[in-house]
């Protein structure tokens, strides 16, 4: 609105911190880069092709939908690139090349755009796309479901090598160390939440340990086995990068704590009873559906705010 002398009138404030959606998204891409590079190191240049196909399809789909169908193009913000990258990282390394673009298209067009675009989707597009691929092409995933690439001997030494790089059924899980480094970087910049992944991983560790062999619960071997369970498969990438997706996680710290713990419990339950290899994915998808309810229960206005509810 313009007043006299061409002066602009707006509500306060008249300064901005300078942070933008695009900047957040590119920060996430930077945090994912080490994991992708180590995955390519382990599984070969094919990883690069899968990532490139997935990201470019996601970006193109987003651009076309925003530009032509919705007619409210407001600039590329990098969120589609993040979706594409995450989708590539949750696929198995030997997936046919056409699968990544198909999943990206599904995630962007049906999960994200169809529910109203950025910020409106109730499921994480990358995770929902993987669920779609698993359900539509079970044969492609069946061959790799049981194999998590664990070595024969479970020792601290082999765990160390395992953490740095190993062949895994999830591309992004090739290097747990790189994933953790990326997540710590994002937590330091306050891009992702700390409570949720800690609750998730903490409850998963506790349950993995509690459901281990009862005779060796208090030995080093049990601890190593739990670490291997945590580092193989998708637990880390999903807990650190996908469950923390702000759009599909609850708003309040208390509800995020509950959400994280419930995800951990469901992950262990699903991996014990069916859904072998895909337990993490279904755990988070199920809990994402619970988010509106959690937001409602934990709304500060309804509970009346106290000092510690902060």
């Amino acid at each position: 609105m313009n007043g006299q002398a061409g002066l602009t009138i707006t509500a306060l404030p008249h300064l901005h911190s300078g942070v933008s959606v695009a900047r957040i998204m590119y920060t996430v891409l930077i945090a994912l880069a080490p994991a992708a590079v180590l995955a390519a190191f382990v599984s070969g240049p094919r990883v690069g092709i899968i990532m490139a196909l997935s990201m470019s399809t996601a970006a193109a789909a987003e651009w076309i939908i925003l530009c032509i169908i919705q007619r409210r193009f407001c600039g590329i913000d990098g969120s589609a690139l993040v979706t594409g990258a995450l989708l590539a990282l949750v696929l198995p390394p030997h997936v046919p090349l056409w699968m990544a673009p198909l999943g990206a298209l599904f995630g962007i067009a049906l999960v994200k755009a169809a529910s109203g675009g950025l910020g409106r989707n109730f499921l994480n597009p990358a995770l929902a796309a993987k669920a779609f691929l698993v359900l539509a092409y079970p044969a492609m995933f069946a061959a790799v479901a049981g194999n998590t690439g664990q070595p024969e001997q479970l020792t601290w030494n082999s765990l160390l090598y395992f953490c740095i790089a190993h062949q895994d059924t999830w591309l992004g899980a090739a290097s747990p160390a790189a994933l953790v480094a990326g997540a710590v970087f994002l937590m330091y910049l306050r891009v992702i939440d700390r409570v949720l992944p800690l609750a998730y991983i903490g409850s998963a560790i506790l349950l993995f340990w509690a459901t281990g062999e009862s005779s060796t619960l208090f030995t080093q071997q049990a601890a190593i086995a739990v670490c291997f369970q945590l580092c193989s498969g998708g637990v880390l990438i999903v807990a650190l990068f996908m469950a923390t997706d702000p759009v599909t996680s609850p708003a309040l710290r208390t509800s995020r704590l509950f959400y994280g713990m419930a995800c951990g419990v469901l992950t262990v339950l699903f991996s014990m009873f069916g859904a072998q290899g895909h337990a993490v994915m279904y755990a988070v998808l199920v809990m994402s559906c619970m988010v509106p309810l959690l937001n409602r229960w934990c709304a500060p206005g309804q509970r009346g705010h106290t000092k510690d509810d902060y």
Binding site: L7, H16, Y310
Partner: protein, 475 residues
């Protein structure tokens, strides 16, 4: 906020990271949570000397400077008035008297814009340049013989307005504190916003008067403790105060360094930081046994009580990207904003927005002829780089929620207001919003949340049957 990089630094004197002086008496550190920490750059660090600005040929003095009822004019067009003479009487208990800031002839009493999109009856005085002075406060007895009531009376006649978040006549606060004793006097000497650093110039020049004012306040209200809230990042201000305080009785007046997070200059948040008490809705800081007064008001209070001076000048910092040379002026109330901007060599071709008040808490003005008010502490001239760009859809990153000093969920409130669901907005405590602007400041989607929150508050009040929406005077 680690992403904060809002304002461009003009020069980079890195004088910020100093240590606190050793001898400072620190009782207990106030707790500061929420809000945003603005990047400490040159826009904070400058402490220019206060300069007088030549009295303008014509001043426009609104009869309302705060959230309340306007004063009733006691002069008429054609009258000759002296500087300091009362031109508007406080006819109502929520009003404050208004005084002429120059000597001259009254040409008109007309409605004139004084805050954005609102007019107030204003007295226009043609300056005759003689600067004759007449005090509106009668001298009856020496200060030492004055009782609390006499002192409050002098302050009431001086028309001082105290601005800590909301603008209230100072005498009202003191009179309330006489009726309901406050134990703790909090002197607000925090500087939380860039460009709006008139306060630091004032402290450098008049720290002694501020402390005297605080002592008078303590005498009036019977407060036993006084804490001066200062930013822990400004060691120079510490030095100024601590050299004066050490001479006095220990424990009575002490410095309380705190994190200079915006908007902790707000009365409600200062009380929370010092006592832990949550003030909501109509809660007064006296409920928590506190009295919060800004250091400008204390300096003016001392002048009113000791020298019988009415409040007719304001210390105004003029700065911003479009202002050529930032300066701090002692401007007469009613000076047009344009005069101050011209005195700072402002480039009017790049000027896109002018803010009365700090760049975060202030309000944009639509007309450069609008006058300086009693509560105006800064004029910020912004160029096109400071304008908001188009907003994007909310990505639910919750930065607004983390930044909110009163623990609201701004994004949720705004979506309720946009949907017209005022009942839901009311349940989510929209009425507790301070309109500090932290949410909009950190929003990566550049949504102007405050705009919607202000609108929502009006609509919620209307829905609740309370149609008396108060005008928020500019800070």
């Amino acid at each position: 906020m680690r992403f904060a990089s809002a304002h461009r630094s003009r020069t980079s004197p890195d004088t910020f990271q100093g240590k606190l002086p050793e001898e400072t008496v620190v009782i207990k550190k106030p707790k500061v949570r929420g809000g945003v920490l603005l990047k400490a750059d040159a826009a904070f660090a400058e402490t220019p000397k206060i300069e007088p600005v030549p009295a303008p040929a014509q001043v426009i003095i609104p009869l309302l400077h705060h959230d309340g009822t306007p004063a009733v004019p006691c002069v008429s067009p054609g009258d000759l008035v002296a500087c300091g003479q009362c031109i508007g009487n406080a006819a109502h208990e929520s009003a404050a008297p208004v005084h002429a800031s120059v000597s001259g002839t009254i040409t008109a009493i007309v409605p004139y814009p004084y805050v954005v999109r609102r007019d107030a009856m204003s007295v226009i005085i043609e300056n005759n340049g003689k600067d004759e002075f007449a005090s509106p406060i009668p001298y009856d007895k020496p200060v030492k013989e004055c009782k609390a009531d006499d002192l409050v009376n002098r302050i009431a006649l001086s028309g001082i307005i105290d601005a800590n978040g909301s603008a209230v006549p100072l005498y009202q606060k003191l009179a309330a504190a006489v009726r309901r004793p406050a134990d703790l006097l909090i002197v607000n000497a925090l500087i939380t916003e860039p460009y709006a650093n008139a306060r630091s110039a004032l402290i450098h020049e008049r720290a002694e008067e501020i402390i005297t004012g605080a002592t008078i306040c303590m005498t009036i209200t019977g407060a036993t403790r006084c804490r001066i809230a200062v930013s822990e990042k400004q060691p120079e201000i510490h030095k100024v105060f601590s050299s004066l305080i050490n001479a006095r009785e220990a424990g009575e007046i002490t410095l309380a360094p705190m994190k200079p997070r915006y908007p902790f200059h707000h009365e409600q948040l200062l009380v929370r930081a010092f006592t832990g008490a949550e003030l909501r809705g109509a809660g007064s800081s006296l409920d928590a046994g506190c009295l919060v007064i800004g250091c400008e008001a204390l300096a003016a209070l001392r002048d009113a009580v000791m020298e019988l001076m009415p409040c007719y000048v304001s210390v105004v910092a003029v700065g911003g990207p479009a202002a050529g040379s930032p300066k701090t002026f002692r401007a007469r109330i009613g000076t047009p904003v344009r005069t101050l901007l011209e005195a700072c060599a402002t480039d009017f071709t790049v000027l896109r927005k002018v803010v009365a008040g700090g760049p975060l808490s202030g309000s944009a003005i639509q007309d450069l002829n609008m006058p300086v008010l009693k509560t105006t502490s800064a004029i910020v001239a912004l160029d096109s780089a400071s304008l908001f760009t188009k907003s994007r859809p909310c990505m639910k990153c919750r930065r607004c929620q983390d930044a909110c000093p009163v623990r609201l969920e701004p994004a949720r409130l705004v979506s309720a207001v946009q949907a017209g669901d005022y009942a839901a907005a009311n349940v989510c405590r929209i009425t507790e919003c301070l309109e500090c602007g932290c949410c909009s400041y950190v929003c990566p989607s550049r949504i102007n949340l405050v705009h919607w929150l202000q609108y929502g508050k009006v609509m919620v009040k209307r829905a609740n049957g309370n149609t008396t929406h108060k005008v928020q005077a500019i800070a």
